[in-house]
């Protein structure tokens, strides 16, 4: 499981994933925040072969797509968390 290791003394902030309030830290990407909070995955494969939690962490594989309210489909690995952000997992 994703583990916070270094430089984690940052300002906390909260955002919402699927109606659930999640605590993150300033500078977290959505991918970091969701996985570090123990959500386990960020999307389901459209083909029914299981949950996904990103892969490349650099905006190439497109396997960490989430829906961000007001922005639409976004890559969790390249989107920084903002206070009050609302995210849907598909």
């Amino acid at each position: 499981m994703l583990t916070r290791l270094l430089d984690q003394n940052r300002r906390p902030l909260t955002f919402v994933v699927d109606e659930e309030e999640i605590t993150a830290k300033q500078g977290d990407t959505l991918l970091t925040a969701m996985l570090a909070a123990g959500l386990g995955h960020v999307r389901h494969s459209e083909f029914g072969d299981g949950d996904r939690a990103g892969f490349c962490w650099m905006g190439a594989c497109q396997d960490c797509w989430v829906i961000v309210e007001g922005r639409g489909t976004s890559r969790a690995c390249t989107t920084l968390v903002e206070p009050g952000m609302r995210v849907l997992r598909r």
């Binding site: 583990t3 430089d7 990407t29 594989c61 639409g72």
Partner: protein
Amino acid sequence: MKVAVVGAGPAGVRAVEQLVRAGLEPTWLEESPDGGGRIYQRPPAGFRRGYRAIYGADAGRARRLHATLEALKPRCDWRPDTLVWNIRTRERLLDTQTAGRRRDTLAYDALILCTGAMDRILPIPGWTLPGVTTLGGAQIALKAQGVGIGARPVFIGTGPLLVLAALQYAKAGAPPALVLDTTSFLTKAMAAAGLLWNLPTFLRGLRYTAALRMKGVAVAEDATPIAIEGEGKVMALRWRDSGWREHVTPCDAVAMGWGLKPEAQLADLAGVPFRFDATGHNWLPERDAAGRTPVPGVYLAGDGAGIGGAEVAELAGARAALALLEDHALPADLALRAHLDGRLRTEARFRAALERAFPYPAHLARRMEDATLLCRCEAITAGELRAVARYGGSEANRAKALSRVGMGRCQGRVCGPPAAEVLAAALGVPVEQVGRLRGQPPVKPIPLPGAA
């Protein structure tokens, strides 16, 4: 003259530096919100660790690159968070998208593409489980987010990044349960003479491996990954050692990568022809030693033009800019040109030895089990690709049309190389004969106009 530079990693920074020196004001497009590239990626605002803690032995290099980047931003048309999603090469136009929505079209007279690289992958059962990342991804997680992909990860693959990333995790407090290198010691030893072309880098590699073993991390060479096990998360790696004994190593994450492949989709759209490089086992856009392509006005530098690493990318970026200046009768630093040509020649020899020392395990891709998920976007198995090989899918793009392998959201970035091996093996031909997946605009998914 309108010059555009795509990418603000090491190659892009050094290219723009030379263009600005010559009095130009290039448009500089970077897909990320910040420059630096992946190797010198900076954490977002809020992180406090210093250069030494983040970049280790590369701290000085990172600091200098970032300083140049910041000095250049006000001296050009700096456009971060901007994806170049198409190149209309005949009209010399770039189609861009900024901040995920704002569209623009940009005219250019000359173009330098510094588009970087990503990890080269070998699919094995379980590789789509949450907790499995690329080696580069595992490194970015630690460097730019201060997180580990797991508390007890396993690193599999080959190449300099395998040992480096594993050591960084060990130092950060998440010691790898295993480092599995698919390359044998003998293969590496046979390339040792060539590696002397860059003695400091070669010695650094040896030091990292020694440090890893000193920290008690198990390193298995000439080993074969069999499967990543777990339900909804990573629980263990099943693997075989060089003596064909099977092991199960419990772990909570897996990072995988077998060297790098160029992100050359834009060069493809620009009309640059490609050739198969047998040494690096990659399709590369054609360019001369300075970075000129057969397409007038288009130049390439850095890992997107052929894998060389961050140090070479800096040299190549500057060199491509000098070529552009010369070709357009603008003042170019001739002493610098001679220096760069010498360095690039030496580094090319080192790189060739490095590729021989850490080969892509094509044999493992070729005998991938039928049930293994090959294309993670479309969830297509190796067996499904083999089936279309029998029905006329004798070329990568034809096989893509028939099987959907490489047709998904990543457009074959991830599955392209292993899929080519599977297809070639099914057809009984050399891998270069099945060709490569053609780039298609948009090079990355973009929202439809008018859609939310």
